[in-house]
Amino acid sequence: MNYPHSGRFAGLILAVVAALLGACGESPSGPTAGDDALVRKYGKTLAELPEVKLVLISPHNTDIQYEYETAYARYHAEAFGERVTFEWRDVGGGSSSILNHLRNVYENAERSGIDVVWGGGDFNFTRMAAEGILHTMQLKSEVRDNIPDTFGGLAMCDPDGLWCGSAVSGFGIFYNKQLLDRMRLPTPTRWEDLGSPRLFDLVGLADPAQSGSAAASYEMIVQSEPTWQAGWAKLLSILGNAKRFYAGAGDAAEALPSGEALVTTCIDFYGTNRMAKYPETLVYLSPRGQTSFNPDPIAILKNPVNPLLAQRFVDFVLSARGQALWALPVGHADGPSLKALGRQPIRRDVYEHYAGELLPSIVNPYEVGQTMEVDTQLWNDSYGLLRQLVWAAAVRNVDFLKAAKQRLIETDFPPERVALFNRLPDNVATRERVAETNRLLADRKQRDLIVTGWVTFFRDQYRQVAEEDAT
């Protein structure tokens, strides 16, 4: 066979490869400016310093990993004369997978070979602390002075130093303004707006059983109402508008630029980082006074390989310099080297010290009026339970839920049918029952029975709402 065009095609491929190789050559490499300081202090370049390895497990994205790795390696070389290499473990999945993985490991062994666990919501860290798989950290007084024990009702730092928040995350509404405008739909500003019949089938939501941050935002929504029942009704009105439930909070945020959904709830920096890229199209806003800020903790794992190095890394992340890395733009002397991270520092003093220099998307959570005061008791009683309840009521029953909500919209919300729609199973009908049931969920046989019961309960209920003749 003869291929007259193959020569030309091969030429094209060669040209592309050459262009790419050329581009690679431009990337920075070789000794850096920092080497001079190292040679002066230790008589060695970075490459010649003795190597130490820090092993971390974290759901943080590659940008965060890169910036903290770069900044810390430079700091550590200058301060301690060692070259740190980082190993980021990834067990395939988000914070839930990490928790499962660590539990399995420590069930079978005394050590995990991992020094630091970083990121994923306070719920998982409270669990790990309770299960005894964290190592006590020594936090400096300047750190403790600038991080409140609790804020908005939520613990920011473990009193025994088993974990400490390294950043805070707010929750808000993220929407495609251009398309909402084009479709003459209202732009949401409050949680309740997401439950509006006009946004039916347009909201992309995440599965709280898999995403800790989605679970936290649903808890905020429940708590933005005075009672558990009213909070559930508000949450259910939003869940009923779901286009679908994504595995991760990030998938839900990505559903906007990809054109799958028009509105979603998400963690602040998922929204603000995308808004920075498409300022005319996408909007993130935090419903004022309807959300609190959650800590995003860091901790040292039980029997770390290198406890001293782990402690030093934690110190760096919680230092003013390490905190500023979250929020400064690229180009600032203390800022990130390649990409702005756009996250909220947890230390109060950072907002004052770097005032006017932080990224525009960074708000000071400690300013009055931003934050909702969380009912800590309800939070502790219901957070774990809510993940399972939403999973049973919405994620596992999404088609039935949508059919019921559609029927409510078509029949203009007759009160009896709305009451039926909002009815909760007996074992979670009141705050007291919620606390009781939440305790039962710790046993896996009980949990299986309870959650399976909820799935059937809601499925039957939605069928009734959808099928009954209008009265």
């Binding site: 089938d201 679908r244 054109g259 028009l262």
Partner: protein, 584 residues
């Protein structure tokens, strides 16, 4: 002529059977041990969790699953999905394969090659691309609005992805039809045209000939390919998750495993699903694929092909082109994502960049993951070829007792979802076990390669078996009679005759290894060992950064280029014979 000599040799052969079959028995024993250790043991590790309660053997969780009407109805749903997807694949693949076998027209070789592209769609980014196109506010609807066909101000645009069950069927069919197409092409090429000529000479119409002669001869091939498509659809997680249709057993298992509160119930469900897929496979094999031998009537002359006229060519182009266009949309989407700088609320990207394509080469982890994948896939392919060819040889050429058991054992991986095998490897290499140093956190090189290799053995066994069946044993016997050693015969007579089969099997196996997801995600936990699919996953889900998706797509672009080139080369080399691998 040689055949006539056989009876005279028979008496001698009978005496030497035992001595003759010793090597075959030895090879078979080794293969059985390998499959037991690396496939059965890990699977047992996983599903046994579902049968323990408070540390004791117990059927509690199994009962909880069987008595749960929702879980049971999902199992029914999954079966229905697999049946319908398989049927749709047949509807798409059969006409394409028949036209390809009977006619030639300008461009058929290019179109036939493009038909294979669905097989090499990179994971995750392929899904993201599909959502971009079919999302309710995605490319298709924006295009329709630009054309004035819909008006978003007047009402919601249609939600193509939200079509549930139908959507899953369509996407699965567009992804899996090439398996049947390859299979049918191979089967058609093997039908002796003399049968059809005889039918026509006896007065049958073209349609009657097809219906009464060709189709029955195609049946074994159709059922064989159909079984693979069926099992694939039955265990598929990716497609239903893209569409958001989740009333399916594999999706439920996947989602339950991903939550922070996994109960043994999930593992009981795994056991039930595994039993179902193995039963379906066995049913397909014993009831439908029984007379496989009919299909391998070796053609004595090449089938004649008719050159299509202008109208025929145009129609063929519409048919082939339409299927190609639909099935390569995701690939186009991946490429666009890989080169887009700004792309929101518009049909095409608003700005383009080469930044992401360059990123792959400047990010050591990304580049390293490509190299890792080439290593893992390369070695796993070699293992597959060695084990698969040896197994095929025992199954086809030896007369040892229990070789059909060996055959079944080699086909078992088809029915095992990757997730389950991966979970098993995690369990046996857990911290504290003597295999710990091969575990995901230490150096998963070995378990990754072995897991990859185990899952694709069936394709090599099938591909090589098909070749051996078509090479007359008499040729090998002649060589032996002339004094050639067993090894010499294998290398100088058999190997060259089945080289095409081995190459076809190697290429497809290699491609599947490169695209493997479940084992890659779970078994590679440190960046230095990530294969390309895990790196794509990590970037695609690195959601804090809005550009990560584009970087993941750029990785996908290189994947498509690499595998596309491999596939194209194999397709040019082998033509219609590429399909022999997909015999169940």
């Amino acid at each position: 002529m040689i055949r006539n000599l056989l009876p005279t040799l028979a008496s001698g052969r009978l005496r030497s059977t035992f001595r003759e079959e010793r090597p075959a028995a030895l090879v078979a024993a080794v293969i059985v041990v390998v499959i037991t250790l690396f496939l059965l043991v890990p699977i047992m590790e996983t599903i046994s969790v579902g049968f323990y309660s408070e540390g004791e053997l117990d059927g509690y969780w199994f009962e909880r699953v069987v008595s749960n009407p929702i879980l049971m109805s999902e199992l029914g749903n999954t079966t229905l999905l697999a049946v319908i997807t398989t049927a749709v694949c047949i509807v798409i693949a059969l006409p394409l394969a028949v036209i390809r076998a009977r006619y030639t027209f300008r461009g058929i070789n290019v179109l036939a090659m493009l038909l294979l592209l669905p097989l090499i769609l990179p994971p995750f980014v392929g899904a993201i691309a599909i959502k971009r196109f079919l999302g309710q506010f995605g490319v298709l609807n924006i295009m329709l609005e630009d054309l004035g066909l819909i008006d978003m101000a007047e009402g919601l645009p249609p939600d193509w992805l939200g079509s549930g069950f139908t959507g899953v069927v369509i996407l699965q069919a567009l992804h899996l039809f090439p398996i049947l197409y390859l299979n049918l092409s191979a089967a058609l090429a093997n039908i002796d045209p003399a049968y059809m000529q005889a039918a026509r000479n006896l007065g049958a119409s073209r349609f009657q000939t097809f219906w009464r002669v060709t189709l029955p001869l195609l049946m074994p091939g159709l059922f064989a390919g159909g079984t693979i498509v069926f099992i694939w659809a039955f265990t598929d997680i990716g497609t239903p998750v893209i569409v958001g249709y989740e009333h399916l057993t594999p999706v439920t298992i996947f989602k339950e495993l991903a939550t922070s509160e996994v109960t043994p119930r999930t593992y009981s469900l795994v056991f039930i699903m595994l039993s179902a897929s193995v039963s379906f496979y066995l049913m397909g094999r014993f009831f439908l694929g029984r007379n496989t031998q009919v299909g391998s009537t070796k053609a004595s002359v090449a089938a004649e092909t008719t050159e299509l006229g202008a109208l025929g060519t145009a129609l063929a182009w519409i048919l082939f082109g339409g299927v190609v266009l639909l099935s390569v949309l995701p690939h186009i989407g991946v490429v666009l994502l890989g080169v887009s700088d700004h792309w929101v609320n518009s049909v095409l990207p608003q700005e383009y960049t080469l930044r992401h394509l360059i990123f792959v080469f400047t990010s050591p982890e990304s580049l390293n993951s490509i190299i890792n994948s080439l290593k893992y896939a390369g070695i796993a392919t070699v293992i597959d070829i060695v084990i698969g060819a040896a197994a095929a040889w025992v199954i086809i050429r030896s007369k040892i007792v229990g070789r059909s058991v060996l055959d079944g054992l080699c086909m078992l991986p088809l029915a095992v979802p990757g997730l389950i095998l991966a979970a098993g490897y995690v369990a046996i290499t857990a911290q504290g076990s003597w295999l710990e140093s091969f575990g995901p956190t230490e150096n998963p090189f070995v378990i990754l390669v072995v897991a990859y290799a185990m899952r694709r053995i069936p394709f090599v066994v099938r591909g090589v078996s098909a070749g051996l069946q078509q090479v007359s044993e008499a040729l090998e016997e002649a060589a032996r009679n002339l004094g050639a050693s067993r090894l010499g015969t294998g290398l100088r007579i058999t190997a060259p005759l089945i080289a095409a089969n081995i190459i076809a099997a190697a290429v497809l196996t290699f491609s599947f290894h490169m695209l493997e997801v479940s084992d890659s995600l779970i078994l590679a936990q440190t960046p230095e060992h990530y294969p390309i699919t895990k790196q794509i996953y990590r970037l695609a889900t690195s959601t804090g950064s809005p550009e990560a998706v584009n970087q993941a797509a750029a990785m996908g672009v290189y994947g498509i280029l690499l595998l596309g080139a491999t596939m194209a080369a194999a397709s040019l080399l082998l033509g219609k014979r590429l399909g022999m691998v997909f015999r169940a």
